[in-house]
């Protein structure tokens, strides 16, 4: 394999986004070790010994890697461990916890990540990222998180129109179909007492000229303007992918500086950020996706994001 550090890619085998980067790394002659925790423990074997740091190796049936050969690791979309069907549910739960803290723990101890999984997990909390965004000087909509329906109605009444959006990307399987919750525009009278059933996030409605998906890879920023061509897409572009128009735009200098500050605060090297651009040109931060998707925008615009990811995985630490 030579002396060049190997890039460890942690993801499931049919992650097409990872394929773009694997191909880019192949072109550069950079060694790659791609594996999925879903292959542990049956196909993926770990043997790690604590020396000055963790030494040892990861083995797949067809390849292996020494832990000290790993330069940078990329946490993409791994799936969970698979154990023999013969294990009871309790045995599987216990084995999963051990695997997570064993294999996951050794991986978490690797020194260089794009992004470290623990940092991804922390940054997934919208309250954390919204507070950080405001702290670095980005404009953030007035936000309320509550399970108090009266508070929610008061918040909405004071602002005229608000948006309800979920705190996580998870949907629900019901009646035989998968359902997602997108952002929805509301008035105070639309809010019911069932807000009390769990935490709900409301934000002041922000008039928009268009939205921007800003993908940040170290200090490279890729900004794509997204124009929703339907009523649903105009509120939340994720609700109607078929009616979107994409175009590459530049990022104002002050936004760039504050975005890089935000990533520093969140300890991220990669994030896909969503902004509203208001009719008067203001940029309003909506959310950060610390492990967000980006390849569909490369397909649509030609922006060289896979190249930038490969750069980030092969260069030294950010100064």
């Amino acid at each position: 394999m030579g002396c060049e550090p190997t890039v460890l890619i942690v993801t499931q085998p049919f992650d097409v986004t990872a394929d773009y980067v694997v191909a880019e790394l192949h072109q550069r002659g950079v060694p790659v070790f791609r594996c999925n925790p879903g292959d542990f423990p049956r196909r993926l074997t770990l043997a790690a010994h604590l020396d000055e740091g963790w030494t040892g190796s990861l083995h797949l049936p067809d390849r292996h890697i020494s832990l000290d050969e790993i330069g940078c690791a990329w946490y993409r979309r791994p799936t969970t461990f698979e154990f023999p069907d013969e294990l009871s549910a309790e045995e599987r739960r216990w084995a999963t916890a051990e695997a997570r803290l064993g294999l996951g723990g050794v991986m978490a101890a690797l020194p260089r990540w794009l992004n470290h999984p623990c940092d991804i997990a922390r940054a997934e909390y919208k309250p954390v990222q919204l507070q950080a965004a405001r702290a670095v000087g980005l404009t953030v909509p007035d936000t309320l998180i509550t399970n108090n329906s009266q508070e929610a109605r008061r918040f909405a009444k004071e602002r005229g129109q608000v948006v309800y959006k979920p705190l996580s990307a998870a949907g629900v399987y019901e009646d035989g179909q998968y359902r997602l919750v997108y952002a929805n525009r509301l008035a105070a009278d639309d809010i019911t007492d069932t807000v009390s059933a769990t935490a709900h996030l409301f934000q002041a409605w922000v008039d928009k000229a268009y939205e921007v998906r800003l993908t940040v890879i170290d200090d490279e920023l890729f900004a794509v303007r997204i124009d929703g061509q339907s009523a649903a897409a105009a509120i939340d572009w994720r609700a109607d992918y078929d009616n979107l128009r994409y175009s590459v735009i530049s990022v104002p200098g002050w936004v760039r500086h504050r975005v890089l500050d935000l990533l520093d605060v969140l300890m991220l090297r990669f994030a896909a950020l969503d902004f509203i651009v208001t009719p008067d040109g203001g940029w309003v931060f909506l959310e950060a996706n610390p492990n967000g998707q980006w390849a569909w925008l490369q397909d649509a615009t030609g922006l060289p994001m896979a190249t930038a990811i490969a750069d980030a995985l092969t260069k030294g630490p950010r100064p």
Partner: protein
């Protein structure tokens, strides 16, 4: 004599170690689909906006397989496939030997 009370920590704490190494569900492990929405007045407010995800994009994995040497998906001729990235739920069916015939969805809503 007062019986001893045993408290076993098997719950789901607010900040779980599991959250620090987030992992998706396995390919082929489809979440049960027989749940029924609870009655109005009980169902959380936010779920009142739940809407069917966009129609799935079917990726025929019988025409693709994971090449362990290239470490990416290839077509029947062995060339990198670079399956177009979907912008919504993806339904995959495979009989390529990686797993038995299964189906799954890959929701790329973030």
């Amino acid at each position: 004599m007062t019986p001893a009370v045993s408290v076993i920590a098997t719950g789901d704490p607010l900040f779980r170690a599991a959250d620090q190494v987030p992992l998706g569900r396995n390919l082929g492990l489809v979440t049960p689909t027989d749940a029924i929405p609870s009655r109005p007045g009980v169902r959380p407010f936010g779920l009142g906006f739940a809407t069917a995800a966009a129609p799935t994009v079917t990726v025929d994995l019988s025409a693709l397989c994971y090449d362990v040497q290239l470490q990416l998906s290839v077509d029947a001729a062995g060339s990198p496939a670079f399956a177009k990235h979907s912008t919504g739920p993806t339904n995959t069916r495979t009989s390529d030997g990686h797993k038995s015939m299964d189906s799954d969805t890959d929701h790329t809503e973030d």
